[in-house]
Symmetry: C2
Subunit: 85 residues, 2 copies
C-alpha cells in the first residue's frame, strides 16, 4: 500500500456515510422540502453506475460505499414523495 | 477502453453535477433548513480526500469531479450559515 491508498479508503468510508445524517434528519423532522429532488435522483443514478463499475473492476471499497449511498438515496427519494413539503 | 470504463466516466460526470441542482434550489429559495449540516461537512471532507487521492494517482476524472463537488459543498456550507433556517 502506498500513502495515497489510505486516502482512497478514507474517501470510500466518508462517501459511504455521507447521506446517513441527512436520512436521520429527514426521518426525525419529516421535512424534506429544501432537498433537491434532482440531486437525490442524480445520487441514485450515480451510485448505481459506480456500483456496476465497482463490480466490474472487483473493487470492494467502491462496491460497499456505493451500496450504502444507493440505499440512503433511495430512502431520501421515498421521503421526498411520502412527506409533505 | 473496456466497457466498464464508460461507467467510470459516466459516474464521474454524474458525481460532478450531483450538488448543482441543490445549490441552485438553495440559492433560489434561500431556505436550507432541511439540509443536514453533517452531510454537507462530510461532503466537504470526502471531496477533499478524493481530490488528494485523484492528484496522487493522476486521475483527471477523479480530480475534476471532486473539485466541482468540493466547490458546491462549500457553497452549501456557506448557505447553511448565512441563510436563516
Amino acid at each position: 500500500m502506498q500513502w495515497f491508498d489510505y486516502f482512497g479508503y478514507f474517501g470510500s468510508f466518508l462517501t459511504s456515510i455521507t447521506f446517513v445524517p441527512q436520512v436521520y434528519k429527514a426521518w426525525k423532522s419529516k421535512s424534506v422540502g429544501d432537498l433537491s429532488t434532482w440531486t437525490v435522483l442524480i445520487v441514485v443514478l450515480s451510485a448505481s453506475v459506480w456500483l456496476v463499475y465497482g463490480i466490474a473492476i472487483a473493487s470492494g471499497p467502491v462496491m460497499i460505499a456505493n451500496s450504502v449511498v444507493l440505499l440512503m438515496a433511495l430512502l431520501l427519494l421515498y421521503f421526498k414523495f411520502s412527506f409533505k413539503s
